[in-house]
């Protein structure tokens, strides 16, 4: 076990040791959304022609869980180490900024996918779920989780205390994931809101992911892939740059 693999292993072990909080709790939350919204809206909302509302809801909830948990993993781990001071154990090692990035983002992907798979497994009991174009499912799940893992790193490098991370999470990540077409098709929105929604990069992650299940989407999956890839490239570059200069971690 060397270098970045040790850090990756440690980051995975960290969330796994408290899996009740980091895996089971978000799965339960997503399933509650599914039960409540599915029950209330199943017969009232028509989304794609041949897809029931509960089925439509599942991929969105899965992806929302992937995104939120990938962000939570890297951001909470790094801010905890910064605030409590045990980041020093990592700062004195020969690990490069690329190794830090690979390990923190890698563990975020694992947490995102584990939670997403949990939600999917439970939710699949409640409604039929086809797998029309499964390659998109894998591509968007990985790219979405990686983007949020890198964004979590940026947030935790910038933040100096826990409530700044909480603010980032509650006032940016939560609204943007909620308003990205998890609960509705953006095609059903009035024109203004539709155009506004298209500025939200999470929309493309969720729309592309959903495409993998139903073979239909609001936006071309290639357009979504382009937006998601560009977002991933941007946040990865920024996270790597901040790690390389030791932003707020090496004085």
């Amino acid at each position: 076990m060397t270098g970045w693999r040790t850090l990756f292993y440690k980051e995975v072990l960290r969330f796994w040791k408290v899996a009740f909080q980091t895996v089971a709790a978000p799965v339960l939350t997503a399933v509650l959304y599914l039960l409540i919204f599915g029950h209330v809206l199943e017969d009232r909302v028509k989304v794609f022609d041949s897809v029931g509302y509960t089925s439509f809801l599942i991929p969105g909830l899965v992806m929302m869980s992937v995104l939120q948990n990938a962000f939570a993993n890297s951001s909470s781990s790094l801010i905890q180490s910064k605030v409590t001071g045990n980041l020093v154990f990592l700062l004195v090692t020969p690990l490069s900024h690329r190794a830090w990035f690979a390990a923190y983002v890698g563990a975020s992907i694992v947490r995102g996918l584990v939670v997403g798979a949990g939600v999917l497994l439970v939710a699949a009991w409640f409604a039929p779920l086809p797998l029309a174009e499964p390659a998109w499912i894998v591509v968007f799940a990985f790219a979405g989780a990686a983007t949020m893992g890198a964004l979590g790193l940026i947030a935790a490098l910038w933040a100096e205390k826990f409530d700044q991370i909480a603010a980032f999470q509650n006032f940016l990540i939560m609204p943007m994931t909620f308003l990205s077409g998890v609960f509705y098709s953006v095609g059903s929105l009035p024109d203004f809101w539709q155009r506004l929604s298209h500025l939200n990069p999470f929309l493309y992650t969720i729309d592309g992911f959903r495409r993998g299940f139903f073979g239909v989407s609001d936006v071309s999956p290639w357009t979504s892939l382009g937006v998601v890839a560009a977002s991933l490239a941007l946040v990865s570059w920024l996270a790597l740059h901040l790690l390389a200069i030791g932003y707020k971690i090496r004085q």
Partner: protein, 313 residues
């Protein structure tokens, strides 16, 4: 001998004109000295002198505003991986990762340095530092002293040739101090270079072959411990009194409650001081004349403000 070692291998640690400025505060101002391989080196100075800043720059936790630092010839910024691989740092703050047990922490820390399969060395560290029965305890469950021991073990887990201890005995009990110094002295005898900062001057006097003293970010003394002790007032006059001292004595004395200590460079000076006390009709008790220790040297250098830095090769 350090001098001989220098001709065949680079210095264990080399500071070259290191400066550090925080906002408008100059924490370090042109600090430069070498620590040769195999030395037990002491870095002393009052709070705020720049000791921890200097060590943070060495460890890569802080960047120098000017100057260079290298470990066994590896620059700590340009060649940081090799420099850090050669360093084991025991930080001053009592920090820990609450998610892991002692053994897990040590295995993980080894992995960061690319070391695997070092279970025997981890067992030896645990045994030597009196942690064997705590190996599987969570870090949260340990007392402060035990956490301090784990910090030492974490710093040594990759067998670094250069060990840096930043006030490792601050607030720890006598037993740990003895365990720690026996172990560190053993590592030093085995060839490890040790850089120590401490507030306990008797520790530095007992352990360190050479000492650098920092004051306001500058090196004000750098010499062999024996030379520092010999170069200052060789005798100290100590006595107790309840009466106010004559000004001429008081201004050179170190007064702690009833206890008065005055440096004297030779017997004539001792006689002169006693004469002043007699003239002023001061009644003294428990008068004794002793050898100056490192604390006296330290205070003389810190408060005596010598005109020129006392620096020797």
């Amino acid at each position: 001998m350090p001098g001989e070692a220098a001709t065949v291998m680079p210095a264990a640690v080399s500071f070259r004109q290191v400066s550090k400025t925080y906002a408008s505060v100059r924490a370090l101002d042109g600090v430069g000295f070498d620590i040769e391989a195999g030395e037990f080196f002491g870095l002393l100075g009052p709070n705020g002198a720049g000791k921890t800043t200097l060590i943070s720059i060495l460890a890569g936790l802080t960047k120098a505003s000017a100057g260079t630092v290298s470990v066994l010839g590896h620059d700590v910024t340009r060649d940081y991986a090799k420099a850090r691989q050669s360093l084991g740092i025991v930080p001053q703050e009592l920090v820990f990762d609450p998610f892991f047990s002692v053994r897990e922490s040590l295995v993980i820390q080894s992995g960061y340095f690319g070391v695997r399969g070092n279970g025997a060395w981890i067992d030896e560290l645990l045994e030597s530092l009196g942690l064997a029965d705590k190996a599987n305890a969570n870090m949260r469950a340990l007392s402060g002293g035990m956490k301090r021991r784990v910090l030492v073990a974490l710093a040594l887990v990759h067998r670094p040739p250069v060990i840096v201890l930043d006030e490792p005995t601050a607030g720890v009990d006598v037993e740990l101090r003895q365990t720690l110094w026996q172990f560190i002295a053993r590592l030093n005898r085995a060839g490890h270079t040790v850089l120590l900062t401490t507030h306990y001057l008797e520790e530095a006097e007992a352990l360190c072959g050479r000492i650098a003293m920092l004051k306001e970010g500058r090196v004000v003394a750098l010499d062999r411990t024996s030379a520092l002790l010999a170069g200052t007032a060789s005798t100290m006059l100590r006595f107790k009194t309840d009466q106010p001292l004559p000004a001429v004595v008081a201004e050179h004395a170190r007064i702690t409650g009833r206890i008065v200590q005055v440096a004297a460079h030779d017997p004539a000076e001792v006689e002169a001081i006693l004469g002043r006390l007699r003239e002023a009709h001061i009644e003294v008790e428990d008068l004794e004349i002793g050898r100056a220790d490192l604390e006296d040297v330290f205070l003389e250098i810190m408060h005596g403000a010598p005109a020129l830095p006392r620096v020797a090769a």
